[in-house]
Structure formats: structure tokens, C-alpha cells
Chain length 197, copies 2
DNA sequence: CTATACATACATACTGCATGTATGTATGGT
DNA sequence: ACCATACATACATGCAGTATGTATGTATAG
């Protein structure tokens, strides 16, 4: 790794980190590229050297947040008890906790689907898709006969949607901790009843 | 009603209708005010006479779509059988059907929360809030002991989130009718199990 | 009943800002 | 020495919002 690409990578990373922060605070439309480069201590030339356009910069920020969340969810699910319902609840809890953080709320949940296209919020193709563990858990439950056959993937969509709405509800609550507890309890009820035929 | 305000109302309505169409096709950011007034056959002066800014125009378009959807959901729920589960399923079915329509997908589900603020997607304060029937149904179920006490409102959030994700999933599917059927069946499973203690 | 005073509904022109692009420059690698 | 990479600078374009102008309808006083 030469000194030059090292510097380039560092600049790129600084831009991405700055972008996450500014997009979190002011959103995509409310953040000018000038503001980003000023905060990052470079010029617009540097930005447009590393990224094709403003959207590409956002995508890099989005993926960084997504990787972070997906990792935490997968780890939580893997560390949980042996039953699918347990793993599902654990992964979901990790996801809800992530939804408490402003940068996850804004970049991943709010702006992401709109800026990058709605398709991103319903496909599982992304290598670091944050909700893959949910589908995995439901497919497992399907094999064990806990849910009607052939419904696992559609149910995963529903559970994931419920999780996202939870994030929004928690985010706007005056007492976020209380909201987190209430939504979490409701989510546990939902999962438990869903996986108990 | 004088001739003048009549004319004004007509112009305003033309702008709103045109806005719904253009926002549906190109989104909020992708639709310039110039494009709207050109399509509506007026000038930018007319637009800024009737609306404070571009966002106010969007809000008018948003509310028009919301009124339409909420009316259909409430009607479907009211026309359904007597049990809460039946009413919930009926209202949800009407909502999913509405989610098949492009203008509902784009204006209400996609752009709305971002342009008008995320809070709009989690509060029930809107007079024509499309998901009020869901909360009503769950509260009824709670009174009948079908769900654990004190969980109705949180569960309503979850169900509504599931519904929205359903809309997205249906929208991007290659075969929307098949997706609608699959998601609808999964939703029925979810509601049935949730309301069966 | 008509003339005047005013409000409403629109059109036009202008300003400032943001994006993207094109071009210039400096520096590390070979 | 030469070249590619990594940036900086200057510029063109387009859009949102505002300020100002104009015409037409409406109310009211004499």
C-alpha cells in the first residue's frame, strides 16, 4: 500500500464519516456538498474525485451504517438461545436498539430508501442487508412447522416493516427508553404468538 | 361563492391534481415547480400565490391522497363482520389494495414521511390518518382480552409498519397481483395468530 | 347607479445557492 | 524524466423563492 493511496483512502474515509454526521443532522437534501467538504477540510474537487456524485457519497455513508447494524444483529442472534423464536427475538432486540441511534434512524431508515430507491428496502440482495437474519430465523421456524409452509419470506417482510415502524415510533417519542421498552414488549408478544401455532 | 374565489379554487385544485401526478412520476426532488405550473397551464406566480412554498404544495397533494385512502379503509372495516379480527383484516386488505396504486405508493408511503417529516408517519393526530382504524380495532381486541392489556397501541404501530413494508414489497414485485396475494395471506396469518391468545 | 377604493389572482424579472464539470497543478511512484 | 493519481479552482446550468407589476373582480360611499 503506497503512501499515495493511503492518503486517498484516508480522505475518502473522512468524507464518508463527515457525510454520515451531516446527513444525520440535516438529511440528504439539507446537506450541500460544500458543507461536507468544508467540514471534512477538503474541497469539492476531492469529493468529486472520489465519488461520482452526491448520491454516491450518500450510498457510501449508507453502506457504512448498514454494515455496522447488520453485524450487531447477526451477532446478537447467533449468541442467543437455540430456538428460532429466541434467535428472532434477540436479533430483533438488537435491531430495535440500533434504531435508537440517530444516525441509524436518519441515514438507514429515513433517507436511505428515498435517496437510493425503495427497492433497497425490500430486497435481501445487499451483502450486508440488516434484516437477513430475520428471514433466516423465519425460514428455520417454517422448517420446524411453527408457521404455515410457504409463508416465511412474506412474514419476514411484515416483521421487518414492523421493526422499522418501531424505530420511527421510538425515535419521535419524548421518552425514548420507555418507548423502546413498550415497543419491545409488543414485538415479543407478536413474535411469540406468531411462532406458536 | 363569488366568481373570483371560484376561479381561485379551480386553479388551486388543478395545481394539486397536477402535483399528485408529477410527484407520483418523478418524486418531490425530481419535480420542479416550473414543471408543475407548465403542466397545470399557469405560471409560478399562481403557484406561489396559493401555496407558501413547494413543500406546502406537496402537503396539499399528500392530504388529498390520504383522505382518499383513509376513507376506503374505514369503509371496508365498517362493512366487515362483527369481530375485531374480521374488521382488522378487512381494513388491512383495503389498505394493501390502496398500496397497489402508484400515487399512494409514491406520495403517501415514500415521499410523504421524508418531505413532511417522519413524525407524520407515527402520530395518529392527523384528522384523516389512514391507520386510525387499525388502532381502533386493536383497542377493541384489547377490551375483549384478545391481546395482553396495555399493548394495543404499540401493536398498532407494529401492524401499521408491517402494512407499509407490505406496500413497498408489493410495489417493487414483478407480479404485483401475486405479491399482493402472498403478502395478504401472510398478513391474515399474522393478525389471526395475534388475536388468538 | 356609478365612481372610487381595495383585495384577489395572477405574471414577470431577479437573486442567490447548489450541483456537476472542465481544467489546472502538485506530488509520489517507476 | 515521465506519468498517473489526488486534489484545487473556475465556471456553466438550473431551481427555489422573492419582489414587483398588472388586471380584474368586489364592496361601498355619495
Amino acid at each position: 500500500m503506497s503512501k499515495k493511496v493511503e492518503q486517498g483512502d484516508a480522505t475518502r474515509q473522512r468524507l464518508v464519516d463527515t457525510a454520515v454526521a451531516l446527513f444525520t443532522e440535516h438529511g440528504f437534501a439539507g446537506t450541500s456538498t460544500t458543507a461536507v467538504v468544508k467540514a471534512a477540510g477538503v474541497t469539492r474537487g476531492a469529493l468529486y474525485h472520489h465519488f461520482a456524485d452526491k448520491e454516491a457519497l450518500f450510498e457510501a455513508a449508507y453502506q457504512q451504517v448498514q454494515r455496522e447494524v447488520a453485524g450487531r444483529c447477526a451477532a446478537a442472534a447467533q449468541a442467543a438461545e437455540a430456538t428460532p423464536a429466541d434467535r428472532l427475538r434477540a436479533g430483533m432486540a438488537a435491531y430495535l436498539d440500533a434504531c435508537l441511534e440517530p444516525h441509524v434512524q436518519r441515514v438507514l431508515l429515513r433517507e436511505g430508501p428515498l435517496v437510493l430507491g425503495w427497492e433497497r428496502s425490500v430486497t435481501y440482495d445487499d451483502p450486508f442487508c440488516a434484516r437477513r437474519p430475520m428471514r433466516t430465523g423465519l425460514r428455520e421456524a417454517e422448517r420446524l412447522g411453527l408457521v404455515p409452509p410457504g409463508r416465511a419470506d412474506a412474514l419476514a417482510h411484515l416483521l421487518f416493516g414492523a421493526a422499522n415502524q418501531s424505530g420511527a415510533a421510538i425515535a419521535v417519542a419524548s421518552d425514548q427508553a420507555a418507548a423502546r421498552a413498550e415497543i419491545g414488549a409488543a414485538m415479543d408478544v407478536l413474535i411469540t404468538r406468531l411462532l406458536t401455532p
